[in-house]
Symmetry: C2
Subunit: 432 residues, 2 copies
């Protein structure tokens, strides 16, 4: 086939597609590099032997069912498992209100497809999941960033932004990347606002299972938020190579999502579903979870401890109760993007926070249709250029200590450089 | 969660989603029913034991790689396998020009997403794959049906429709459902037309491996059609439960599809890819194929033989050289949709052809934006209401004989009823 440089036009939305913020560990082949950028969990602790055993049992027991495509919505037993799991969290849905998907990204893509017209107002936390921004981007919504604290969206900002919004995308616990977690009181305030203004709520609890200190409280849907779905994943930590997730909630929306799924993808892999179900029902999963929690708790503690010891004044960070990330805020005179290269040369990979913030370099609509409702509040409207996501997913405690130490040195140097800069530069800095 | 009937608005494209033409064998629980409607292959002949063995080997050898997500484009070894496979068919692409997907539906969805704006002209065969129509529908293209014979699109019609078209979706061999297969001469004519008018070619060869009499000749891209991709599947027959497919061709398009895939889905299941690769490299696959061909050849022959013996005059059908379907054309006085109920009551499930034809009930844009370029040719413009797809995928030869016999009785009765109808009715009929 001849390769011709000029080609026929593509769809306008093709220009809205962007590469991921992090390219995964495979992209980093630097000797001795500490990877604090990537979110991919370690294979360490994954129950490989149990998985092989489960596969053998499933194929031996009902090969016919496992080798043929199952129902479009997912096998009934797995949907029932999800419904029972949600019941335990106070959310009452029938198995018919559960759709099995190929994981969170597919869930979010389908939600974007079914709910978002071009320029539909879409509320997101600041910061929010870069994967969610990328999934929604091709549908060209108008992203509206919500002011947040460590408990999630500020109630007043949320209530003010809701009228006319098409969708609110909320991570109710251990939000990626800032580990915002709704308290019961905050959750009640947000639910009250949602009852006032009709809007589709997409509640992402992909990280709920990744609590490190204590399990999380009930989310927004479980507290009575109308019109919405919860998005969950089986793959986040235990089965990253077997991509399966689910959406559960509003029957009207699940029905449409099921149609969209069926048009855009074959039924979820039957074999994987049966194997997963075998694992969920057996002791392997429950057995593996405490070990995994211990691994990530040790890593988080190592990171927090290293940050405390090495970071200069003026740097602040979150203390996540779950998830895989610490969210750093650098002095406002620094641009995290400019630290990536120096950090890499010192042997540590970090991820600037821009990709997690609407309006920043990672804005899902790339500035084409973003409009901040708080434009009179320059602080909130400005893209966060001085933030960094540090991941404790893949590096062990000792490597984390080394990586944080290296990055702290880079930050110190950068602060010193800025403080030596002439006044003209400082003028620019004070606005940043 | 309370279920409230009224809900906030969804995206406009949500109204373009339709259920599949066939609901799969699970929907049919009628005792003694012969299923000639569904396309799902039999589990019969699937190498279950080999699959379990391959999974055990893969997990034993490199559990880490198999349990973590692989690269977004698919694992390199599998992409290299596809490139070598295509090389054998005369299509020269590098592994970088191959994208592994979750199967044909995802391939087509991504192509729609990246290439189709609302009202983009999209050329399709008449009839064409209902799955393709459903995958493209949410992107609201303007479907343009191409006049075809058993060798595919008529060259003159194709050349006339090409200027201004955004995409041409062509199944070059054993097209679903009518088993159209390009001859070398026809293929050369279509390639010449594509070289004249720039248009993205999407060549679907999902059924190429399902030849029953003889392997197929090279397709359009292999003969030099510019600007296009080939869409293939590993799942059609051998691995229907493990959904994996690929798109290969234009580097510029593959790059965009990879971005779209990465935004909308996690990397293709690593474990499944390694297991598939293990199967592709081993003897199990090559060993299973001749047996599967024999099974489907026997069923096809049984169906053709039964049709010849039972169908009344005025009914014609295809003689497929591959694939899983016979395409029936009933007398023009009959509406296939009206025969579904009577056939079901006699114990046979059939699928009316409307879902495979743009402009008919199954039109992917549901009449909202369909516009036939041959509107002056009433014959070509009319939706095909008198067609039926009969599948020999899931029923054995004896059941097929029984099913065809039953359906033939229904057709005979319908013809008799119409011929006894008063003149007023006949007037309506002659226009049908």
């Amino acid at each position: 086939m001849s390769l011709i440089a000029m080609h026929p036009p593509m769809a306008r939305r093709a220009a809205l597609l962007r590469p991921p913020a992090s390219h995964g560990p495979a992209a980093l082949d630097q000797q001795g590099l500490v990877d604090l950028a990537d979110a991919q969990p370690d294979a360490l602790g994954l129950p490989a032997q149990e998985l092989a055993e489960a596969t053998r049992r499933v194929l031996g027991r009902h090969a016919g069912k496992a080798l043929l495509p199952g129902p479009c919505r997912g096998i009934a037993q797995l949907r029932e498992w999800v419904a029972a799991h949600l019941e335990g969290q106070g959310l009452h849905v029938g198995a018919r209100q559960v759709l099995v998907t190929a994981g969170t990204r597919q869930s979010l893509d389908l939600l974007g497809k079914v709910l978002l017209d071009p320029s539909s107002p879409l509320l997101v936390q600041r910061p929010t999941s870069s994967a969610a921004l990328r999934a929604f981007a091709p549908y060209a919504p108008r992203m509206i960033g919500l002011r947040c604290d460590e408990q999630g969206p500020l109630p007043q900002a949320f209530a003010a932004a809701l009228p006319g919004a098409r969708m609110a995308y909320v991570q109710s616990c251990f939000s990626s990347p800032a580990a915002q977690t709704l308290t019961p009181e905050r959750a009640e305030q947000l639910v009250a606002a949602l009852q006032e203004a009709p809007c589709w709520l997409v509640e992402d609890d992909a990280c709920a299972g990744l609590w490190l200190d204590a399990p999380v409280a009930a989310g927004l849907l479980a507290r009575g938020a109308p019109h919405g779905v919860r998005v969950g994943s089986f793959s986040r930590v235990l089965f990253p190579g077997i991509s399966l997730g689910w959406v559960a909630g509003s029957a009207a929306l699940i029905d449409r999502l099921a149609l969209a799924r069926d048009a855009a993808d074959h039924p979820p892999c039957a074999l994987n579903q049966w194997v997963l179900l075998e694992m969920l029902r057996g002791p392997a999963l429950q057995g593996a979870l405490p070990g995994l929690r211990r691994i990530y708790r040790d890593r988080r503690d190592a990171m927090l401890d290293s940050l405390r010891r090495h970071m200069p004044d003026g740097v602040s960070w979150t203390r996540p109760g779950g998830g895989l990330f610490v969210w750093l805020t650098l002095p406002r005179c620094l641009d995290a993007q400019e630290l990536v290269g120096p950090a890499r040369r010192r042997g540590v990979a970090i991820l600037p926070g821009g990709a997690f913030d609407v309006g920043a370099g990672g804005c899902a609509t790339f500035g084409n249709c973003w409009e901040c409702r708080f434009a009179d509040d320059a602080d909130a409207a400005a893209p966060a250029r001085n933030t960094v996501r540090l991941s404790y997913a893949s590096a062990g405690p000792q490597a984390i200590e080394l990586g944080v130490q290296r990055f702290a040195a880079v930050v110190r140097e950068a602060v010193e450089r800025v403080s030596r800069a002439p006044l003209a530069r400082l003028g620019g800095v004070s606005r940043a």
